[in-house]
């Protein structure tokens, strides 16, 4: 017997771990198994197709995948420069006492629930965006841009905390040597510190991207949830200023209740979940590989 000489605590430890593995296995199995009918029906056009119309059994998630990538890009466009800039400021420039203050603020910012961000988006941000976009004649303030802006604020703490960790992992001697050679502070940071912290910063950006892709509630409340907004040209900025749909906003909507019971429709919804799971799983895996250790705190 494998477990004959094990103490109760060892058995318990095995049980917990097996429970974790079993749950995760079942999680994956449920999404894979349930999405088979959907994928078998749509095949590759599930990803490449841009028409989602369930009454005609057309399930093309292209517009939603594009929507997800768009909001995540807008979010990163805001959060990456600000987050890395702020991380440089706190780790390289601020004295220790003030540094703690900034870090506490950012930690608290990270704790604000996404539904509160969504609320702020509904009551403020979408009106501001509407006014901002008046020259483009928008239908409402519920746009892909609004969701992206909101995401930018939401993933800022992730990028900042992890980039700060990465910067502080660079040995102090490197900075002293660079300064001793006559480089000024900006040059030391850009030429010596940042290149050495590259892996950690990349991991921060990847993890933030994963968060942005998976965020549901805040995006759901401000994106307008319009299906099938496929842009006429991939280089046009127009889709940013219109309502859109992401994979998560679809999965967070009432279509889940409509779809359940119809094998095909439900299969398509689950395929959406599977695509989301694969993207986020890959990104998280890559990010964890890059930092190798620590940083679940971010």
């Amino acid at each position: 017997m494998l477990f004959q000489n094990k103490s109760p605590i060892a058995l318990y430890s095995w049980f917990s771990t097996v429970f974790l593995l079993g749950s995760m296995g079942m999680f994956l199995f449920v999404f894979v198994y349930q999405s088979i009918p959907g994928l078998a029906h749509s095949k590759l056009s599930f990803i490449t197709g841009d028409v989602w119309y369930y009454r005609s059994e057309l399930f093309g998630a292209g517009a939603m995948i594009l929507g997800t990538l768009l909001v995540a890009w807008v979010g990163l466009l805001i959060a990456v420069p600000i987050g890395i800039g702020a991380a440089i400021f706190t780790s390289e420039i601020l004295p220790a006492k003030l540094r703690i203050l900034v870090k506490i603020t950012i930690e608290l910012l990270a704790g604000i629930p996404s539904v509160i961000y969504g609320l702020l988006g509904v009551l403020f941000l979408r009106n501001w965006v509407y006014k901002l976009l008046t020259p483009f004649d928008p239908l409402s303030g519920d746009t892909v841009l609004t969701a992206g802006l909101l995401l930018g604020i939401m993933i800022l703490p992730t990028i900042m905390t992890m980039a700060d960790d990465a910067l502080r992992n660079v040995p102090a001697a490197q900075r002293l040597a660079a300064r001793g050679l006559g480089l000024n502070r900006a040059e030391t940071i850009c030429l010596i510190v940042l290149p050495q912290a590259r892996a950690g910063i990349m991991a921060a950006i990847l993890l933030a991207f994963g968060r942005a892709v998976g965020e549901t509630i805040a995006v759901f409340l401000v994106i307008g949830r319009q299906d099938n907004r496929w842009p006429e040209s991939l280089f046009s900025l127009r889709p940013l200023f219109e309502a859109g749909q992401t994979m998560t906003s679809k999965l967070g909507g009432s279509e889940v209740n409509i779809a359940y019971g119809d094998t095909l429709h439900w299969g398509a919804m689950m395929s959406l979940g599977l695509v989301l799971l694969i993207i986020v799983g890959l990104v998280t895996h890559l990010s964890a590989r890059l930092i190798k250790c620590g940083a679940v705190h971010a």
Partner: protein, 283 residues
């Protein structure tokens, strides 16, 4: 030229930090300013009335607490077992890394997928309907990585000589666990749990298909078909539907209560959390 670049660069980073802090202060001020007028004894102790336009949030608060307690009861025991497996029972370095990677991946799974998973398995397949237990279980699995990793880090930081002394005394592995490792690492479990609960308190996506309804539930008496009300879901629904000024004011009040709950949970952890981050770089 070099000096100008230096100044420009420094001011850009200062500006970025200012934006980060400014956003937080702005958000916090707005919620406080708008939410405070709604808070009253009645608001905190009455049940929801007229679809949120009057009455209070007592059952929402109780529901959220029920979900949090059950999430804690699911995650803490499992976290202890998994953390011991990772630190004590597994000897193979590659397997240790695998287990940790698995926790990171679980940590990254979008919360809406937990909701959908719970909807299929618990609500439909097991026929539980909407139940607080499902919500608590899902939230517990969601915060499991946070709790476990915090515990693992604490166990790793136990001084080697403690373990050597215990081994020298001739204690068995299980005795070392109960007399040295667990007592020495309890702070990791508390830190991780509070951090996780602070996150779970504000989650909407995992519970909206599985555990909560907007109105009409009080304290659950069973498991099957026993939904609860919850603060984040309350805010989520009202954010879409509320137009009456009274409802919007109560909405801000609920937001303030939720954010205070989250901060209360995380404020105890902050000093420890910052210390870990700071110490990690001087080790």
């Amino acid at each position: 030229m070099r000096n100008i670049m230096n100044i420009l660069f420094t001011s850009f980073t200062a500006f970025a930090a200012l934006v980060g802090c400014g956003v937080f202060i702005a958000i916090f001020t707005v919620i406080f300013y708008r939410g405070l007028p709604a808070i009253s004894f009645e608001f905190l102790t009455d049940q929801i009335r007229v679809a949120g336009a009057s009455g209070g949030i007592i059952y929402n608060l109780i529901g959220t607490l029920i979900l949090l307690v059950s999430a804690l009861l699911v995650s803490a025991p499992l976290a202890i077992g998994i953390a011991l497996m990772q630190t004590v029972f597994l000897n193979n370095g590659a397997l240790k890394k695998r287990l940790e990677l698995l926790l990171y991946i679980l940590n990254g799974v979008p919360s809406i997928l937990f909701g959908i998973f719970g909807f299929i398995v618990f609500v439909k397949y097991l026929g539980l309907g909407k139940s607080w237990l499902t919500g608590g279980f899902l939230l517990g699995m969601m915060i499991l990585p946070t709790v476990t990793i915090a515990l693992i880090e604490r166990i790793r930081s136990i001084p080697k000589k403690y373990l050597e002394a215990a081994t020298g005394l001739g204690l068995r592995k299980s005795q070392i666990i109960f007399s040295v490792i667990l007592p020495q690492s309890m702070s990791g479990l508390t830190t991780g749990s509070l951090l996780g609960l602070a996150r779970a308190a504000g989650e909407t996506a995992p519970i909206m298909y599985t555990a909560t309804i907007f109105a009409g539930a009080t304290i659950p008496t069973g498991i099957k078909e026993s939904p609860v009300l919850a603060l984040p879901y309350h805010i989520f629904v009202l954010a879409q539907d509320a137009f009456a000024p009274a409802a919007i004011q109560n909405l801000w009040g609920a937001a303030l209560v939720l954010i205070l709950l989250v901060f209360m949970l995380s404020i105890f952890v902050l000093p420890l959390r910052l210390k870990i981050h700071e110490e990690a770089h001087h080790a």
